[in-house]
C-alpha cells in the first residue's frame, strides 16, 4: 500500500479533536478576564508551537538532503507533509498579528503605547519590537519558509517521474534548493523566536534563547514522526519502515533531548552564576511562581528520555516509543508554556494595574494581586488547566488532519529517490 487513503474514522476523530479545541477556546474566551489573556496566550502558545514543528520538519529534511543521508528516505514524505502546515501556521499567526493591530490582546508588553511611553528600555527596543516589524517579519519569513516547503515538495514529487538512475533532479535541483534553505532558516528562525517568544518578557534577553527554543521544537518534531509512523504502520502502510528506522529516530530523540538539556543548563547556569538582576529575574519568577512546571520541565524532557531511551530495545519497540514520544510532546509543549505564560501574565497584571479603578471588580485583577504571593495558583497560567489541554488537543488534531491530507496526495514511499535502496536496507545493529 503505497497510496495513503485518509480513513473516515480518523477523519471524524480528528474533527472531533478540532471541535474540542474550538469549544475550549470559546469557553476560555467567555470565562476569561477583561483582556482575554488566557484565550490569546493559548492561541499564541499553540500556534507558535505547531508552526515551529512544521518549520523544523522542513529544516531537518533539507539538512538530511545536504548531508547525503540515506536512512530517512523511506519516510521523507512525512516531513514534506509536516512542512506544508506552515501555511496554516501563518494564518494562525496572522490572527495574533491582527489582534496586535486591533489592540485586542495584551500579549506583548512592548505593544502597549502607554507602557512604552513610561519605559526607557522599551523605548530603546521599539526599533525592533513594534507591531510593524512583528507583522513584516512574520509574513515575510514564514512566507519564505512556505515558499521553500512547497518548492522542496514539488521537486521531490518531480523525482517520481524520472528514471531510477537519472540523478539530475536530485543533484541539480533538490540539493541546491535544500542548501539554499539552510542558511535562510538558520538566520531567520532566531529572529522569529525573539519576536514571538522571547519578547513576551520584553525586558529580558539571552543570546542562547533562540537555539534553546528551536531544539525544543526539533525534539517534538521527531516524536511526532515516530508516532505517525507507528500509527501508519498499524494501518498497514509503511511496511518498509523497520525497527532499525525507529532505532535511529530514537537515537535522535535521545541525543537531542540531551542536547536540549545542555542548552537549558548552559543558559540557566550562566545566568545563575553571573547573578545579574536583569537576567536572573526570568528564572526567579519561574522558580517562585511556577515551581511545578519548572522542575517538571526538566524531569519530563531530560530525565525520562535519558533513562527510557538509553537502552537499545526501547528505541526499537512501538510500546516504549509510543509512551515516551507522547510524554515528550507534552513535555516540550509545557516548555513553551513556561516560556510564554509568565511574561504574558506579568504584562496583563501591569495593564490591569494601570487602570485599577476600572477593573477593581474584575476577578482577573484579583488574580493579578494574588499572583504576587508565591503559592497562589492562577488557572491556565501557573499550570495548564483542562481548557489548555483541550485547546492543545484541538491544535494537534488540526496538525494531524492537515498533514494526513497532504499524505494522500502522493505515494508514501518515494522509490525514485537515489538513496531509497539504502533506506530500504537500513540496518543499525
Amino acid at each position: 500500500m503505497n497510496q495513503f487513503t485518509f480513513p473516515s474514522r480518523a477523519r471524524v476523530f480528528l474533527m472531533v479533536c478540532m471541535a474540542i479545541g474550538l469549544v475550549c477556546l470559546g469557553i476560555t474566551y467567555v470565562t476569561d478576564d477583561a483582556l482575554h489573556t488566557r484565550f490569546w496566550s493559548n492561541l499564541l502558545h499553540n500556534s507558535v508551537f505547531f508552526t515551529g514543528i512544521a518549520f523544523l520538519a522542513l529544516f531537518f529534511l533539507c539538512a538530511n538532503v545536504i548531508a547525503f543521508s540515506g536512512w530517512y528516505t523511506v519516510f521523507k514524505r512525512l516531513w514534506e507533509a509536516y512542512a506544508q502546515f506552515l501555511i496554516v501556521g501563518l494564518v494562525l499567526l496572522l490572527v495574533i498579528v491582527a489582534g496586535l493591530w486591533m489592540h485586542a490582546h495584551h500579549l506583548y508588553h512592548w505593544a502597549d503605547a502607554d507602557a512604552v511611553a513610561a519605559d526607557e528600555i522599551l523605548q530603546h527596543k521599539s526599533a525592533f519590537l513594534n507591531p510593524l516589524n512583528y507583522t513584516l517579519f512574520t509574513v515575510i519569513i514564514v512566507g519564505l519558509w512556505i515558499f521553500f516547503a512547497r518548492k522542496i515538495r514539488s521537486i521531490s514529487l518531480e523525482e517520481e517521474n524520472v528514471d531510477k538512475f537519472d540523478f539530475s533532479v536530485h543533484k541539480r535541483k533538490l540539493r541546491i534548493w535544500a542548501a539554499a534553505f539552510l542558511p535562510i532558516a538558520g538566520f531567520s528562525s532566531a529572529a522569529m523566536v525573539w519576536l514571538w517568544v522571547m519578547s513576551v518578557d520584553a525586558h529580558w534577553y539571552s543570546t542562547l534563547f533562540a537555539w534553546y527554543a528551536t531544539i525544543s521544537w526539533f525534539v517534538t518534531m521527531l516524536c511526532i514522526t515516530v508516532l505517525t509512523l507507528i500509527y501508519l504502520k498499524g494501518k498497514g502502510y509503511f511496511t518498509e519502515v523497520t525497527s532499525d528506522h525507529f532505532h535511529d529516530l530514537g537515537k535522535y530523540i535521545f541525543g537531542f533531548s540531551v542536547f536540549w538539556t545542555y542548552l537549558w543548563f548552559s543558559q540557566y547556569m550562566l545566568i545563575w552564576y553571573g547573578n545579574v538582576g536583569e537576567e536572573t529575574i526570568y528564572f526567579k519568577q519561574r522558580l517562585q511562581d511556577y515551581p511545578v512546571l519548572f522542575y517538571a520541565n526538566l524531569a519530563i524532557n531530560f530525565v525520562l528520555p535519558f533513562f527510557v531511551l538509553m537502552r537499545n530495545d526501547t528505541k526499537r519497540k512501538a510500546g516504549s516509543l509510543t509512551v515516551i514520544t507522547i510524554v515528550l510532546i507534552l513535555g516540550h509543549w509545557l516548555d513553551y508554556f513556561l516560556m510564554l505564560k509568565p511574561g504574558i501574565l506579568h504584562t496583563a497584571h501591569e495593564v490591569l494595574g494601570h487602570d485599577a479603578a476600572h477593573h477593581a471588580a474584575d476577578h482577573a485583577h484579583g488574580a493579578a494581586e494574588h499572583a504576587h504571593h508565591a503559592s497562589h495558583m492562577v488557572a491556565g497560567f501557573t499550570l495548564p488547566g483542562f481548557l489548555e489541554i483541550g485547546t492543545f488537543i484541538g491544535f494537534a488534531g488540526l496538525f494531524a488532519f492537515f498533514f494526513l491530507r497532504q499524505l494522500t496526495k502522493a505515494p508514501l514511499v518515494s522509490y525514485r529517490d537515489p538513496y531509497i535502496d539504502e533506506s530500504l536496507h537500513h540496518h543499525v545493529v
Binding site: G186, E422, H425
Partner: protein, 473 residues
Amino acid sequence: MSAVVSPIRDPLITGHKDYHQITEDICAPSERTPSVAWVVSFLIAVSVLAVGVFCILWTIWFGIGTWNLNRTIGWGWDITNFVWWIGIGHAGTLISAILLLFRQKWRTGVNRAAEAMTIFAVLCAALFPGIHVGRMWVVFFFFPYPNTRGPLWVNFNSPLLWDLFAISTYFTVSLLFWYTGLVPDFATLRDRATGLRKRFYNFLSFGWTGAAKHWQRFESLSLVLAGIATPLVLSVHTIVSFDFATSVIPGWHTTIFPPYFVAGAIFSGFAMVLTLMIITRKVLKLEDYITVEHIDSMNKVILLTGTIVGVAYLTELFIAWYSGYIYEQYAFLNRVKGVYWWAYVGMMSCNVLSPQIFWFRKFRRNIALTFFMSIFVNIGMWFERFVIIPTTLARDYLPSSWSYYVPTWVEIGIFIGTLGIFFTLYLIFTRVAPVVAIAEVKSILKTSGDQYAGEHAKHAHKPHSHEEESVAH
C-alpha cells in the same frame, strides 16, 4: 552500517585497491627510510620547538614579567593560544566518536590522523596553564588533594578548575580511543616486521591476533568509547567558554558562549585536519585513501560550523544592542571599532565571510584553495580568541585603566614553539604509526571502493527495480 550503497554516492577509495594493496600502501611510509622532505621538515619542527623551550625557560627563570601583560589586560596571548589549541583538538574526537555514531564512512580515511592531531593539540594547550600561573614548580596545586591551605583550595566553584577536569578527561578518553584503533594496525605492522622492530610493535599491539573475539571486543569498546567521547566533544569547549561567560564582564557574560565555542572549535579543528591531510596525502602518496571526496565532506563541515559561528556573532551583536545595557553595547562597539578593530575584521573575514565560497562544489574540491582556506580559518579562529580576550579586557569600566597590549618576543616565541611541538609530534607519528586506519579503511572497501561504488563501478547503472534485490549484502 547498511551494505547497500546508493549509486549516487562517489567512492571513498580510488585506484581499484584490494586488501593487500591497502596494507602495502599504508604501511609503506613507516617501513621505508625517511624521505629528505621528512628529515628537513623534522629538523625545522624541532628547531622551532627549541625556540619554544627556550622562551618557556626564559619565562620560568625571569618570571611572568617577561610578558607584556599588565594590570588591565591580565590575559593575553597565553590564554588566546590555550583556547586556540583546545579548539583545534576538537575535530579528532568529533570525527572518531560522533561520525562513528552517525556511521559516516568517510571518517575512516581521516580519523587516525585527526585523533593524533587532537592529542598533540591538547598537549600544546595543556602547556599554557602550566606556564601562565607563573610558578611552574607548584603546578600540582591545581589538583584537589588533601592539603593545609584551607577549604578554598582548590576552589570547586571556579570554572578554571572544571577546565582542568574537563581537559584531563578529554585527553584520557581521546588517547584511549586513538590507541584502541591503533592496536590492530600495530599488529599488521608487527606481522610485516623483523628483529627489533617486530618486538617494538609486538609490545605495542598487546598480543593482537585478529581472532573473531578480538574484533568483537574491539567493536564493543569502540562503540562504548564513542558514547563516552560524544558528550566530551561538547563539554570541553563548553567549560572553556564558562571561563569567560560565568564572569560579569560585558562581552564575556553571554549565554550563547557554550554552543558557539563548540561550533568554533569544530570549525578550527577541521581546518587543521585539512591542513595536515592535504600535505600528508601528497607526501605519503595516500591520495587514494584521502580523496577529494573526503576533502569535499570536510569543507562542508567547515562551511556549516563557520556559518553557525556567524549566526552566533550576529546574535551577540544584535542582543548587545537589544539588551539596552550600555556596557554590553560598548563592549561590542569596541570590538568592531575600537583599538583592536583589525582583529575583529580578521575574525569576521576569515571565519564567516571567506568560508562562504564553499557553497560551490568546485571550490570545495579545489585542493590548493582548500589548503589556503584551512590556514585562513585557523588565523581567523586565533583572532576570534584574541578579540574575546585582550580586546574585551583593554576597555573596562574605568577609562583611567584602559590599556593596550602587544606581546613580547617571549610570548610570540612560546606560541611559535607550540607549533614546533605540534609538528614534531605529528611527524614522529607519521613514521611510527599508520596514518590511515588500515583495518577501518578495509571495512568500507567493499561498499565504497571505486570498483564497487560510483561511476566506474563494475555493476553501476545496471537498472534494477527495488523488488529484485540484486545488490550483494
